[in-house]
């Protein structure tokens, strides 16, 4: 293998590596006919990321003709090659990635200004091909937005927040912080951002749904998308099936596949979720149109807040926008509410994981997405 990237593409390559480093600890590198594939997966295997840099991305792109070569290595060691983006931009003119067969090393050479040459010889391990199976086209919903919009959106959530909930209706998108329903949840600040469909470049919503996924990986992709100025597409379906974040360009394609929290897919619950959206829409409007009386609250304060002020049922993430009055709804809510399945499914590698009790609980849907295991224990240390 021998690839040479020049000029601005070196920075793109570096950003891709940095972006992947947010996902997992190892970088899987595989030159294929379509280009150089850089992949990573997180330790719980609930997030997978792949950058495919097409042969046109490189000034020179040669793949070994005889056998397929692929390897993995600690992503930290690759990251250190591209450590400083600013100095990379200033001084590096050319970056060459070579497979050195004799030494069994992957050689990354940075050609800098004034003839300075930086050579990194990285050891690697052989591995199976890492590939998550996903189909963007089969997803019911697709949103495409400028990366700036997504960056601005994510900014509203604290860096410590792990999971975010995304809900869509026919003309709006809501993002909320997802809070684990434990004892502390009632003390947590709830943040909700509402975006109009007009803000999106493309807005194709076929099913009104609400999904919860990890924010960290989205932030990782945003680092890349923002620097390259490319729009970001979000493909998703029901809760439990993966969300695919995608950035494409004529010479590269990046796909981040993330597990979403699975919910009980009981039809009643589903309907309930939809009505909640409608409510949410209404109350948000109420809030902005100054109808003070509609949000009056009556709290007696000469005594300590009794049980009537603090509902005993655990706070539900999606009903926090609920109209304060209307007790009937509250009752209905309590009936329908049941402990949700909190676990992120390890979607992509379900078939190779030992059949645990958790797996048997899972819906068939989750197991459709499969990939071969890339971790071969008896591979040779190079």
């Amino acid at each position: 293998m021998d690839c040479v990237a020049t000029g601005g593409n070196v920075k793109v390559l570096a950003k891709a590596i940095h972006s992947l480093s947010r996902i997992g600890d190892e970088l899987y590198l595989e030159p294929v006919e379509d280009g150089l594939a850089l992949r990573s997966v997180n330790s719980s295997r609930s997030a997978f990321a792949c950058f495919l840099l097409s042969p046109l991305f490189f000034q020179r792109y040669q793949t070994p003709s005889d056998q397929s070569f692929r390897c993995k290595m600690p992503i930290k060691s690759v990251q250190s090659v591209f450590k400083s983006l600013s100095s990379l931009e200033r001084s590096v003119e050319k970056c060459r990635i070579q497979f050195n067969n004799e030494k069994s090393r992957l050689t990354i050479t940075l050609h800098c200004k004034h003839g300075l040459l930086k050579t990194h010889n990285l050891s690697f391990q052989d591995c199976e091909s890492l590939q998550a199976v996903f189909d963007k086209d089969s997803c019911a919903n697709m949103l495409q937005a400028q990366s700036r919009l997504m960056v601005d959106t994510v900014l509203h959530f604290p860096p410590s927040l792990e999971e975010v909930n995304l809900s869509v209706s026919n003309d709006r998108v809501w993002l909320r912080n997802h809070i684990e329903e434990d004892a502390d949840s009632s003390r947590a600040m709830m943040t909700e951002l509402c975006l109009s469909s007009e803000e999106f470049d493309q807005f194709a919503v076929n099913t009104q749904t609400s999904i919860t996924f990890c924010l960290k990986e989205l932030r990782g992709l945003l680092v890349f998308a923002e620097s390259s100025g490319l729009p970001i597409s979000i493909y998703f379906d029901e809760p439990g099936s993966p969300v695919i974040l995608s950035v494409t360009d004529s010479v590269l394609e990046a796909n981040f596949v993330l597990a979403t929290l699975s919910e009980d897919l009981h039809p009643k619950n589903h309907v309930n979720a939809n009505t909640k959206h409608l409510q949410a829409e209404q109350t948000t409007d109420d809030f902005m149109c100054d109808d003070m009386d509609s949000v009056l609250i009556a709290m007696e304060t000469s005594e300590l807040p009794g049980p009537s002020h603090v509902p005993s049922s655990p706070p539900h993430n999606t009903n926090n926008r609920k109209h304060p009055a209307s007790e009937d709804e509250e009752e209905e809510e309590a009936l329908v509410e049941r402990p949700p399945n909190k676990k992120f499914c390890s979607l992509f590698f379900g078939s190779v994981l030992p059949a645990s009790s958790q797996l048997t609980n899972r819906t068939i849907q989750n197991q459709e997405v499969l990939a071969s295991d890339s971790d071969n224990e008896d591979q040779t240390e190079s």
């Binding site: 600040m189 709830m190 943040t191 975006l195 109009s196 803000e199 809030f287 003070m292 609250i297 304060t301």
Partner: protein
């Protein structure tokens, strides 16, 4: 009990944000007191907070374009809420370029201070971000715990040197000792001292000036006082540093009152904001 308010002016929003940021640097939790004319942030000295107390007072009309409140009853037309200023500060931070910010008391799963910001967007429809900050409504019988602290009968009152200078001195002294002695007299002189087994350091300030306090009762003590006589107070240096580091008010007037060996009372005045901070003396 109702509360609803709105800020449109960017200057007011920034100013309010700075006050909230300052408060959030000083304490994890405090009481937000709302009256018809004022908004207060109150921390009353408890052992758990190291005995420090805070009293921050804002004139409502100078910040809010709209402000409506209805207290617990007609004769007790006030609202006391326990809030986490950090949450409020975070919510305001995301509203920095908002077209308008609304704050109101709502009842969600628990009582919340809801802050809604209307943000500029790429389309004709504004983006709306809403933060529900959980609060505890403080019952009326506990209100007395959060009354304005009495202005102590101080021995010396003095203007503070430039806060940046003072901060850099205190920051360095903190590396050497856990306690700092602050002393001042009526000739406009102030010293910051640390003393350890190994080293004694004193920074002298002079010509600081002493604020002319009115003819209220608190002055009788200091009037009969000799100009040269120092009043001193030994305080936990971290508390002082926290105050100097966290403040974002950039006060037009900063002064302190010292009650000899008892309390250090710091006062920041800036236009419509007054921030008082009380640090108890340690032996």
């Amino acid at each position: 009990m109702k509360f609803r308010s709105k800020i449109i002016d960017v200057g007011c929003l920034n100013h309010f944000t700075r006050v909230v940021n300052t408060v959030s640097k000083l304490t994890k939790s405090c009481v937000l007191r709302l009256t018809r004319d004022h908004v207060y942030f109150v921390l009353s000295g408890k052992v758990s907070t190291g005995g420090v107390s805070m009293w921050c007072e804002l004139l409502q009309v100078n910040f809010f374009d709209e402000y409506q409140m209805e207290g617990v009853s007609a004769d007790a037309n006030e609202i006391f809420l326990e809030v986490t200023p950090e949450n409020l500060s975070r919510a305001l931070k995301t509203a920095q370029n908002a077209k308008s910010v609304k704050m109101k008391l709502t009842k969600k799963n628990c009582p919340c201070l809801t802050l809604a910001a209307e943000l500029p967007s790429l389309s004709s429809v504004s983006r709306v971000v809403t933060h529900d900050i959980p609060v505890d409504v403080i019952p009326k019988r506990l209100w007395q715990d959060f009354r304005e602290p009495q202005m102590p009968d101080f021995d010396v009152s003095i203007y503070l040197p430039p806060l940046k200078t003072m901060k850099s001195v205190v920051d360095r002294m903190k590396n050497l000792s856990n306690y700092l002695v602050m002393e001042a007299n009526l000739k406009g002189e102030m010293n910051l001292k640390i003393e350890t087994d190994l080293v004694s350091v004193t920074t002298h300030f002079k010509d600081l000036g002493n604020p002319p306090w009115g003819d209220d009762g608190s002055q009788t003590v200091s009037q009969s006082r000799e100009d040269n006589l120092m009043a001193e107070v030994r305080v936990d240096i971290r508390k002082l540093q926290q105050f100097l580091t966290g403040q974002q008010v950039n006060p037009s007037k900063a002064m302190c009152n010292i009650v000899h060996k008892r309390i250090l009372h710091l006062i920041f005045l800036h236009e419509d904001v007054s921030l008082q901070y009380f640090i108890p003396a340690v032996v």
